[in-house]
């Protein structure tokens, strides 16, 4: 049987087309995962915004002298709620809130009778968990962003990913203040 050059060209073209469709679909799936991960961070941030007033109410009575801490928490919360959809702005405002909450927790540690109240313990656990959830949601988001960006920027997909409307996603990064905190933690262990 004779294999005509035309047939070869057709086979190669079909294979190429299949590959392009497959990688396009793969990129779309990854992009959706990134969006989904971002939405998860949003859910958890919202949860934190909702929990904060409760916590503040339950501890305020015991800590009359610590007005500045409460104010900074309230202010940071207001800013975080007001921050728009921009990733960089959002992450800056939320990092401020994390820092303010960290100060509040540190202050609670100074009131042993407060730590013993069961209700406060439960609330504190909820907030600790929310902090963790945000951190894990961020971690998941960043992992997904890394996968998505790597897929886009590796050869040969980088040749046409931009043409098909894919762009690099932005990671949720820690602020300088956070980094400073992290360093202290690393040294203490």
């Amino acid at each position: 049987m004779q294999i005509s050059p035309g047939l070869i060209v057709i086979v190669i073209a079909v294979a190429l087309l299949v590959w392009i469709v497959a990688s396009f679909n793969g990129l779309v799936a990854l992009r959706n995962r990134v969006r989904n991960a971002w939405a998860e961070i949003d859910v958890q941030l919202k949860r934190r915004h909702d929990l904060i007033p409760n916590l503040v109410e339950s501890v305020r009575a015991y800590m009359q002298h610590e007005r500045s801490v409460f104010e900074s928490v309230a202010q940071a919360r207001a800013q975080a709620v007001a921050a728009g959809g921009d990733v960089l702005q959002r992450s800056a405002a939320e990092s401020m809130l994390t820092a303010a909450l960290g100060r509040l927790f540190a202050t609670v540690e100074n009131y042993p009778q407060l730590r013993a109240v069961e209700n406060v313990q439960l609330l504190q656990e909820q907030l600790t968990s929310t902090e963790n959830r945000i951190a894990f949601a961020r971690q998941f988001y960043n992992d997904e962003v890394m996968k998505y960006n790597t897929r886009q920027s590796t050869f040969p997909r980088n040749l046409f990913a931009g043409l098909m409307g894919f762009s690099q996603a932005v990671m949720f990064t820690a602020l300088d203040e956070d980094r400073a905190n992290m360093q202290v933690k690393v040294q203490s262990t």
Partner: protein, 611 residues
């Protein structure tokens, strides 16, 4: 974090060149999964070929007898009988080619082999899919009932923490959070159960919450949720279905011989048709898994029954050929599932556990949490009552009975123990009647821990309880260890150690009767355990950055192992060869007897049908 003292930084550390990132570890284990899956398929095929050789003739026999009966009332077309004789010819060619090395052309040989093997293989696969489907439908409710699981109480700090940690880990893994259930058992352990990721449950014993810190809890739950996310539940379910299918096959060939197998068969048919709730599903699955093995109860009963009536001897004569088939099949199933399929499946499952460990490190980015959690769990007995059927799903093996005697005593002894405990803790003895034995066990365990840590009050309570027991029931007192001996043994008193050993032996002897019945999990089918050793897991975690003190004892143990294996390897090989020979002889005998039997029946029908 003052408690982190157990993390020994001075221990053996891995050099940077030995380190492995969790992503690399995951990739390595994923690749290993593929390799071992191939091994499992090969093992299944090796088991399937002799099995098919045994089942297929039986199937043909059933079809032939059925055809003869139909033919008696309304004659079947001639084409059918021609096809049957053609099948028989092809089968004979294949058999001759194999047993007597007679040359045959490749096409006929392939056709002959297909005729001999395909129907049996098809039946096994269909049964497997059926069992898989049947139990998938029933979900995990029965398992939860068997474990006596309950919902966590979110107003309690520890239990709220558990719910939170599960949510956190699910977010980190990007999966839907599984439901959490608690078991109030004295052992510390946790498991992910379910038939797939969509109906997964995480089951945690309450004791685990008391024993582990938050970061350790995170590590352990990350392992479970990573395992769910990796799709391990589906794999485990398929594996279980394979062993259940084996049990079903045994029940089927046993059914002419005994009432027990018939009742098992009847129950599964009724369950398949009518359904019957989650509890029934769990009970049926348990019966099937228990069926793999060379049990001869039914057959012994069949042949050795004292009365020798004429009907009975005729029946014996009729079923005699099936008896060979039955024995051949059981031997084949038992040998291949313990020595071939079981170990390869166990290897596969171990790889999945390593993979889940590596994924857990990715989720928490804290290898120390999981490493410390595993270490703690390994130190304590992790037995979960009602969890035997699924011991492979637990994070560490629940079977470590050599650590401590924790067998559950019988009802009368339970009552005596509860009474004594109530006396020792200063409650009125009427209260003891209302006390659940599990609570007593939990309290005993926690007091015991406090006593070992040096709490004088706890020691006094233990002593008082022991005295109360020995006053009311000396026989029971001989079975439980004297707390004073424990403290003596810790100081190195040889007499105390000896007494403790005696107590342990006695307790083991009295409970060994119950133990045999409890061994029903699929992991008891295999020679090789389904859990990798905690030491090996810790070693891998250390390579991912955990600070574990791996004090490697550089003993000459490997030389002993080498010498022993050199001596015993030929013996073991000989044994395996003998076993294979026995199986093939039995298979041949079953084939020959079946053929003779069928020929007789067929000729009887021909004679009857002709006039």
């Amino acid at each position: 974090m003052s408690e982190s003292a157990r993390v020994s930084v001075a221990g053996q550390r891995y050099l940077p060149r030995d380190r492995e990132s969790f992503l690399d570890a995951q990739q390595r284990n994923r690749r290993a999964t593929w390799r071992i899956s191939v091994l499992c398929v090969i093992a299944a095929v090796t088991m399937g070929v002799p099995l098919a050789l045994i089942i297929t003739p039986l199937l043909y026999g059933v079809v032939l007898i059925g055809a003869d009966v139909i033919n008696y009332f309304s004659p079947l077309p001639q084409d059918f009988w021609q096809l049957a004789s053609e099948f028989a010819r092809l089968g004979k060619v294949a058999l001759d080619a194999i047993t007597q090395h007679q040359p045959a052309d490749p096409l006929t040989l392939t056709l002959g082999l297909a005729v001999m093997l395909l129907p049996g293989i098809l039946l096994a696969v269909v049964l497997w899919l059926g069992v898989d489907l049947l139990f998938k439908r029933s979900g995990v409710g029965g398992a939860l009932l068997a474990l006596n699981a309950r919902e966590p109480n979110q107003n309690q700090l520890k239990e709220l923490q558990l719910v939170d940690v599960v949510q956190e880990m699910a977010i980190a893994a990007g999966v839907r959070p599984p439901a959490v259930m608690l078991i109030d058992s004295p052992g510390a352990n946790a498991a992910a159960i379910g038939s797939s990721a969509s109906d997964a449950r995480v089951v945690v014993s309450r004791r685990l919450l008391d024993d582990l810190r938050r970061d350790e809890l995170e590590g352990v739950l990350a392992h479970l949720i990573a395992s769910i996310g990796n799709g391990d539940l589906r794999i485990a379910f398929r594996i279980t279905a394979v062993f259940e299918t084996c049990g079903l096959l045994v029940a089927m060939v046993n059914s002419p011989f005994g009432p027990r197998s018939r009742s098992v068969l009847w129950r599964i048919i009724r369950y398949g048709l009518v359904g019957g709730g989650a509890k029934e599903a769990a009970a049926v699955a348990d019966l099937l898994a228990r069926n793999v093995g060379v049990e001869t109860d039914d057959i012994d009963q069949f042949f050795d029954s004292g009365k020798r009536s004429r009907i009975r001897s005729i029946r014996n004569f009729i079923f005699f050929p099936i008896f060979f088939t039955n024995v051949a099949m059981k031997l084949c199933l038992w040998f291949f599932s313990t020595a071939v399929l079981g170990p390869s499946v166990a290897l596969l499952w171990r790889t999945r556990q390593y993979l889940a460990d590596a994924s857990a490190v990715q989720l928490t980015r804290n290898p120390d949490g999981l490493a410390n959690g595993l270490q703690k769990l390994n130190e304590e007995p992790g037995e979960i009552p009602g969890g035997d059927w699924a011991s492979h799903l637990f994070v560490v093996s629940p079977k470590r009975s050599d650590h401590q005697v924790s067998a559950v005593p019988d009802k009368g002894h339970q009552h005596a123990l509860a009474q004594a405990w109530a006396v020792a803790s200063g409650q009125a003895s009427t209260q003891a009647d209302n006390m659940d034995f599990r609570t007593v066990q939990m309290q005993l365990a926690s007091t015991f821990r406090a006593a070992l840590a040096g709490d004088a009050q706890a020691i006094a309570r233990l002593r008082a309880a022991y005295q109360a027991v020995s006053a009311s029931d000396p026989a029971l007192a001989a079975q439980i260890p004297n707390p004073d001996d424990f403290f003596g043994a810790r100081q190195g008193d040889p007499a105390a150690i000896g007494r403790l050993r005696n107590v342990r032996r006695l307790a083991r002897d009295t409970t060994s009767g119950q133990k045999k019945d409890a061994e029903s999990s699929i992991s008891s089918v295999s020679m090789l355990g389904f859990h990798p050793s905690v030491k090996r897991r810790l070693k891998r975690l250390a390579r991912m950055g955990a600070h574990v003190d791996l004090t490697v004892q550089k003993s000459k143990a490997w030389i002993v192992v080498l010498v022993v294996s050199i001596i015993f390897a030929p013996l073991v090989l000989l044994l395996i060869a003998l076993f294979l020979l026995l199986i093939s002889m039995m298979t041949m005998a079953s084939l020959v007897f079946l053929v003779i039997w069928l020929a007789v029946i067929h000729n009887v029908f021909l004679l009857v049908g002709h006039h």
